[in-house]
């Protein structure tokens, strides 16, 4: 699904964040990326979403190198990114409206995807219901709690039926029950539709829960990826869950 090869990148005037970094993520896998702040985990996610370009090296999604965000990749950021002047209903429909604005040109929207408004509305309704925010459809973001906003942001992304879901600290500002709820939902979707998931987080528990594979980034230049196989993912009661958390913590201390 994601093939990053020989990636090199630095922000102007700073040492290389990545130097000859390669990694490959298969379809349907759930990955976590964890590391201290400034290690480049968000930057790596932005490469995967084609929002920024590396200095050299290639980022292939589904075998393709692209210079613009791919229509079937979904991105959810910590700061929900909802339009403050639009209601939940409008925010969740935004993807469809952007697609209609361009027409199915294959660049901004998948080519040949002609969905009529009624079907769109059904899809929007479906996700509003699934995320439990259908009674908030006429509310503006400022009238909603953080958890509700993040639910709306997820609904907006999922409405476009992504096959790859990239998330940057998606749940870190949320209270524990809401976080648990949304983590479970993402795992469910991963299983249900074989949706590849990559979660960037600084929270060790979250990394272990969300990642069958955990990529650990260091604050210094990243060349060889440190990837840990995590059999206890999605299972808090797994015998090795706590051990895995401790292991990650130790490695993070070492890399910091």
């Amino acid at each position: 699904m994601i093939d990053i090869s020989n990636l090199t990148f630095s922000y102007p005037g700073q040492p290389n964040l990545f130097d000859g970094f390669s990694i490959s993520i298969s379809e349907g896998e759930c990955w976590s990326i964890i590391g201290p702040s400034g290690c480049g985990k968000t930057t790596l996610l932005y490469f995967m979403s084609h929002l920024i370009k590396p200095n050299s090296g290639s980022v292939r999604i589904d075998g393709e190198i692209s210079s613009r965000p791919r229509p079937k990749t979904g991105l959810v950021l910590q700061d929900h990114g909802l339009l403050p002047w639009s209601t939940t209903q409008k925010n969740v429909s935004l993807g469809f409206n952007v697609r209609r604005f361009y027409g199915p040109d294959g660049l901004h929207a998948p080519s040949g995807s002609k969905i009529d408004r009624e079907t769109e509305q059904q899809i929007v309704d479906h996700w509003l219901n699934r995320l439990g925010i259908s009674d908030l459809r006429d509310k503006y973001p400022s009238q909603m709690s953080r958890g509700q906003r993040q639910r709306a942001a997820l609904a907006r992304t999922l409405a476009l039926s992504p096959d790859l879901l990239l998330m940057d600290e998606p749940f870190s500002a949320l209270d524990t029950p809401t976080r648990k709820d949304l983590q479970d939902l993402v795992i469910e979707l991963n299983r249900e539709r074989n949706m590849t998931c990559v979660t960037v987080t600084h929270n060790i528990d979250e990394a272990v829960f969300m990642g069958q594979k955990i990529l650990i980034l260091a604050r210094s230049t990243n060349s060889e990826p440190v990837v840990i196989d995590n059999p206890s993912a999605t299972d808090l009661n797994h015998e090795s869950f706590q051990a895995m958390c401790q292991e990650i913590e130790k490695r993070l201390e070492r890399s910091a």
Partner: protein, 251 residues
């Protein structure tokens, strides 16, 4: 949350002005201060005739100026706000021009653009332009980078960002800027219309009435000017409420 004028406030404001005016005219008891009882019928009567045409001429000029200013200042402000490097180049220039009373350029504009309506419209447009430019620039600069990233990740390119993010994000600021600058626009119009035209409220008030001592008619003209300023103000206020529902929420 914003608070806007309601009907009761407006009506009681108008009533208070009328009472003050009435009191003043009794006190002075002079032809230079006719009572509203004399002026208002003249106002209503002339609005159906000549004064109405003057009123429309002025309204047309203000609307043309504001439109011109909006369609030039909004893209320029968005560009400056989103491109810090370009903004750094132009910032000193804008900072110097912004506080200069643009009306002093009136003769220059007459010389360059000729003695036509275009000159008057251009002058007012310049004044409103800078007001809008500055607020739109600051608004665009203050947009969350994450908001733009998320919308880009949905597939929005430059055009869709304009349509779905930049324009709606700056609309409140544009309307506020227009509302604030409309007073100045009407004031400048008043001065610009006093010469080199034969239509417009400025011409009517100064040349057709004041200079020939037709005081009640002059006051009717002033009422017309006040009506113009108020109507434009309330029009923008109405648009602000309609467009920015999210800013007027009562949870």
């Amino acid at each position: 949350m914003k608070q806007s004028l309601n009907l009761t406030t407006i009506l009681s404001g108008v009533l208070m002005i009328l009472l003050l005016w009435l009191g003043l005219s009794w006190l002075l008891n002079s032809p230079v201060m006719p009572s509203p009882i004399d002026v208002i019928p003249i106002f209503i009567f002339s609005m159906a005739g000549d004064l109405g045409i003057h009123f429309l001429a002025s309204t047309g000029r203000v609307l043309a100026s504001v439109t011109l200013a909006v369609i030039t200042a909004v893209p320029a402000g968005l560009a400056l706000g989103q491109m810090p490097a370009v903004n750094r180049i132009f910032d000193p220039l804008i900072a110097i021009i912004y506080p200069i009373p643009k009306i002093v350029f009136l003769p220059v504009i007459y010389i360059l653009l000729g003695i036509t309506d275009v000159s008057k419209i251009f002058l007012i447009a310049v004044i409103v332009f800078f007001q809008i430019l500055v607020v739109v620039r600051d608004e665009a600069a203050g947009l969350h980078p994450e908001l733009i990233l998320s919308v880009r990740s949905i597939g929005a390119g430059r055009r869709a960002l304009f349509r779905f993010v930049y324009i709606p994000a700056s609309l409140p600021a544009v309307l506020t800027a227009v509302r604030i600058s409309i007073g100045t626009a009407v004031a400048v119009l008043f001065i610009a219309e006093q010469s080199l035209t034969t239509w417009g409220l400025g011409y009517y008030i100064i040349v057709e009435t004041y200079q020939v001592l037709l005081y009640p008619e002059m006051y009717a003209g002033i009422l017309g000017m006040a009506l113009l300023g108020l109507s434009l103000y309330f029009l923008v206020d109405y648009l602000e409420r309609k467009v920015n529902r999210h800013l007027y929420l009562n949870n």
